[in-house]
């Protein structure tokens, strides 16, 4: 061990002095390093989305809404956005950044609008316990964000510029420098918007058009990534992300105008050391997050200031237990420190856990079993466990099913907020089961000029349908008390059941250089209250607020040579906005469309894009009385060399 450490140290030293060249490394090994993770998902219907350059200008909520079976609730352009997965709420959705929990330990949520996809390379959705290798908390599900090194040799520069309606300007700069052993990447993003759009003012007689006020946005982010291939078995990756956001919070329609503002600053960093031996793979990771949130409503004299520091460490391993039976395990620990003017003193939280998964791949069947045990402070948390299986029916059909549990501990605010914090709260607990079938068909036609790997025609069809059932118990909700303040209690149990269906189609004609891609997703979610601890019997069996029963998305793209066209359509059925289901927001059906044109000039690639957002100029609210802009436009320019 000491020897290895010495050798690694020497390598780092050599890098810093930069003199000696190394023997050739296999590029295959490099690829495996960069892409493969030590821990893998449960056999489940998780969804992975590799982000391409089209998502560079988008926030996480925009991509999730258009291509994931989740419901995104947002408060307007550039404003707070949260997720509902299969009927659960924002607090029951856990986000992970490179394997580290990133939900605020105070609020228990993550604002998706503060996650620009420019800095991320992969988004992964998992349901309930299926994301337990990274941690607990995602009772409904989890979103895992990853930075995978896109190791390219040489120097590459990319420049992005977007001009959009309502005085929105986004500039992105990427610079990477890669060699055999080292890879550096630096990204900088700057975004600015005024967002004074027109909306139908429902609070005035005859509903005139009015202009949204106090809706400015300013964001700056920078990310540095470094990859070091120590030798052909060891890789070090490190990412530093700094993000600074300042935004004004507009009043609700007809609400008083208080010039509220919110500033968020955060630093996220992690270092991973992956060691891939022949039969034993390991990954040692540490991270440090520092976040601050500052909310000001000077008219009401409300100044809220929260500062959080989180240190996390993980050790992950994978090896073969016996022939064909694989074992994955991890141990982790995290420590958070919070200061806020909502608490009487600074609060600390210490969480640690162990995780284990066994999986076996047989000819037609593969299955896995996992368990996770955590400690919060010195208290044992509920055991998380689950199992998944995948059975191949012929070579086109696949049957998948799984069961898993998960839980969520009360947030630091839930426990200690002054006044109201309730230290007697129990963790929320949930479980989910799903069963479904997939159909895959690939057909290829060879042309006359036969070359290896060359097809004139290629067509892929994928159909999937699955049913799910989940329950969440001990749901924590703040309730008014007799003493004039609010207090969180373990209020209710909810039940969600539904169906998700997808159709994916891809066609490429290499001879004509044309491509068609079409996707359709549909989700049916029946989310109801099962029971209440306070006897609100008339609310039993009512649909949970802000959970649409039907959601559908459709995406179509067509490209011919250097020109490409895309169209995307969203449908969300009406949502109830009160627990007794007496008021609702109507369905919405917005569409976007865009055209891109690619210009190649020697090594330089220039892509010009035009996009129309909310094509049919639909006036709608996602959250009551928070208007969404009507038809608007964006022009993008992307330069790569």
């Amino acid at each position: 061990m000491y020897k290895k450490w010495l050798k690694n140290s020497v390598l780092i030293f050599i890098f810093l002095t930069g003199k000696i060249s190394f023997s050739q490394l296999k590029s295959d090994t490099l690829k495996e390093f960069v892409k493969e993770e030590v821990l893998s998902n449960l056999n489940t219907f998780s969804k992975v989305s590799l982000l391409d350059s089209n998502s560079h200008f988008l926030s996480l909520n925009e991509v999730l809404e258009s291509s994931f079976p989740v419901y995104v609730k947002n408060y307007g352009k550039g404003q707070l956005a949260t997720l509902s997965i299969r009927g659960n709420g924002a607090s029951q959705t856990q986000l992970f950044w490179n394997g580290f929990k990133m939900n605020s330990p105070t609020l228990g949520q993550t604002d998706l609008s503060l996650i620009p996809l420019f800095f991320i390379s992969e988004v992964n959705l998992n349901y309930s316990g299926a994301s337990s290798m990274d941690g607990s908390g995602g009772i409904g599900g989890s979103i895992q964000l990853a930075n995978k090194l896109k190791w390219k040799n040489g120097i590459h520069v990319s420049l992005l510029q977007e001009f959009a309606s309502f005085s929105n300007f986004t500039t992105g700069l990427g610079f990477s420098f890669g060699g055999k052993r080292f890879y550096h990447q630096l990204k900088i993003l700057h975004q600015k918007g005024v967002n004074e759009f027109e909306f139908v003012d429902l609070s005035k007689i005859n509903n005139p058009l009015n202009t949204q006020e106090n809706n400015k946005l300013k964001q700056f982010g920078a990310q540095y990534e470094l990859g070091i291939q120590l030798n052909n078995k060891n890789l070090i990756q490190t990412t530093f992300l700094f993000f600074d956001s300042y935004r004004e919070l507009p009043p609700i329609i007809g609400g008083v105008f208080n010039r509220e503002t919110q500033a968020d600053k955060n630093l996220k960093s992690f270092v991973s050391w992956k060691s891939f031996q022949n039969k034993f793979k390991s990954d040692f990771r540490i991270s440090f997050f520092q976040e601050s949130m500052n909310y000001i409503d000077s008219i009401s004299s409300i100044f809220s200031d929260v500062k959080i520091k989180t240190y996390q460490g993980q050790y992950r391993i994978k090896f073969n237990l016996v022939k064909k039976i694989k074992m994955e395990a991890s141990a982790q620990s995290s420590y958070s420190e919070v200061s806020s003017n909502g608490f009487e003193s600074n609060k600390k939280r210490n969480e640690s856990g162990v995780y284990m998964k066994v999986s076996q791949e047989l000819k037609k069947l593969n299955y896995d079993l996992f368990a996770r045990q955590e400690l919060l402070g010195d208290k044992l948390s509920p055991l998380v466990y689950g199992a998944g299986l995948n059975y191949k029916l012929g070579n086109k059909f696949g049957l998948k099913g799984n069961y898993s549990t998960n839980y969520r501990v009360p947030t630091i605010n839930d426990l200690y907020w002054n006044p109201g914090g309730n230290e007697k709260l129990n963790p929320e607990r949930g479980w989910t089961a799903e069963l479904g079938i997939d159909y895959d068909k690939v057909s290829k036609k060879r042309g006359l000029r036969y070359r290896k790997g060359y097809f004139n025609d290629e067509q892929k069809i994928n159909l999937g349908i699955r049913g799910f059932y989940n329950q969440t118990n001990n749901w924590i909700q703040w309730q008014p008390t007799d003493f004039g303040y609010w207090e969180p209690v373990n209020l209710k149990s909810i039940e969600n059941k539904g169906v998700e269906a997808s159709v994916k189609y891809k066609y490429s004609n290499n001879k004509k250089a044309s491509k068609i891609k079409a996707n359709f997703f549909y989700t049916f979610t029946r989310s109801t209250n099962l029971s209440f601890s306070n006897g609100s019997e008339e609310l039993i069996n009512k649909q949970t607020v802000y959970v649409p029963m039907h959601k559908a998305t459709f995406f179509l793209s067509y490209s011919y040579k250097k020109l490409s066209f895309s169209y995307s359509q969203l449908y969300n059925s009406r949502v109830f906005i009160d627990a007794s289901n007496s008021a609702y927001l109507p369905y919405y059906f917005p569409a976007n469309t865009g055209v891109d044109y690619l210009i190649n000039f020697k090594q330089i690639k220039l892509k010009l894009g035009l996009k129309v957002i909310n094509l049919y100029n639909e006036q709608y609210h996602v959250t009551a009385n928070r208007p969404i802009p009507g038809r608007n436009y964006s022009v993008t320019l992307k330069l790569n060399f």
Binding site: V256, I302, Y616, E618
Partner: protein, 342 residues
């Protein structure tokens, strides 16, 4: 190609036939009439405040009447209403406005420019409007419906009464951290100046005037040993005549209301309580024992007691109606967070 045209056709059809924007009610609300106006405060920040009309003779409820009449919602957090000169002045707290309608709820105009308005009283052709955050009482010229001035106060000004041609303003102190002492301030409506102050128990929350022109004020006290009180203010001397102290430190009474004819005060303290003020010795008596209700507002009109139940705040609330013997007359569902009957 045909399919695409059809598809685009369907899309346009779907987008064009849609009329609803923003929050809607599942139930259609027909216009109705009733002599009593029920204010449903609505959830803060939801913009779902509404006005119901109640006909006490036929026991009929008509919800969402302002929208039914005018085609738009009244705003965010409906705090109070003042009847004056054939007009109704609805004070909409978190919309920072006062909406003026005729007695049939037909919208006339609105007075804007308030910070966080609460209650309104009228004297000398002027409206005096209290405010949660402004540390002042606004003066509005009711001929032009413009704010013409502000009279500085200590903090959160709440209920306001006109007695003996003077304006009495209940001041609750700093709305975020009241440390007292707290006062009822007296204003001369002719000169718009503060002319007197009456110190009351810390954290006063509501006040009423009886038929002998005495003001009764309910204070909840604090958690450092000051218990809640009901105090009687003599408006001739502007001095406290009488103080009734609650026994328990945990008592947190609110929403003082009065039956003027029968000289009985009512208030909420989880249950509904009453206090007879015609007798010399005043004692507090239980009027209606609460159980699962979340009593939120209290009004007394023509000897009938209206106790509103906000339930979970996230659903339509009830109003329980009692006669003065405490027998429940009737109860019915109104809209979100019903808070007063006027």
């Amino acid at each position: 190609m045909k399919n695409i045209t059809l598809y685009i056709g369907i899309v346009f059809f779907l987008c064009n036939c849609k009329k609803e924007i923003g929050p809607q009610n599942v139930q259609e609300y027909a216009k109705g009439t009733g002599s009593l106006i029920v204010l449903n405060e609505g959830n803060f920040g939801f913009g779902n405040a509404s006005v119901s009309l109640y006909n006490p003779d036929k026991k009929e409820v008509f919800n969402n009447q302002f929208k039914a009449v005018n085609g738009f919602g009244i705003g965010d957090v409906l705090q109070s209403v003042k009847r004056h000169n054939g007009n109704l002045y609805f004070v909409v707290n978190n919309s920072g406005k006062v909406v003026v309608t005729d007695t049939n709820l037909v919208y006339k105009t609105e007075i804007t420019g308030f910070n966080s308005p609460r209650y309104m009283e009228v004297s000398e052709g002027k409206g005096f409007i209290t405010d949660l955050k402004q540390k002042a009482v606004y003066v509005v010229d009711l001929a032009t419906n413009q704010i013409t001035g502000e009279i500085p106060m200590q903090g959160w000004t709440e209920q306001v009464l006109s007695v003996n041609n003077k304006i009495y303003v209940l001041d609750r102190g700093d709305y975020l951290s009241n440390v007292g002492p707290n006062f009822i301030f007296v204003i001369n409506p002719l000169t718009n100046t503060k002319i007197d102050s009456i110190e009351v128990t810390i954290n006063p929350n509501s006040m009423v005037v009886d038929r002998n022109k005495n003001i009764w004020v309910l204070s909840s006290g604090d958690n450092t040993g000051v218990n809640a009180t009901i105090q009687k203010v003599n408006t001739n001397s502007n001095l406290i005549d009488l103080t009734t102290i609650f026994n328990q430190a945990s008592d947190n009474p609110s929403r003082l209301s009065i039956d003027r004819e029968n000289e009985i005060l009512y208030f909420l303290n989880q249950s509904v309580f009453k206090m007879n003020i015609s007798a010399l010795a005043t004692t507090i008596q239980l009027f209606h024992q609460g159980s699962t209700e979340n009593f939120y507002g209290l009004s007394v009109i023509k000897g009938m007691i209206y106790a509103t139940d906000a339930k979970s705040y996230n659903e339509a609330g009830d109003i329980h109606i009692f006669d003065k013997s405490g027998d429940k007359d009737w109860h019915n569902t109104f809209s979100f967070i019903p808070q007063s009957v006027n």
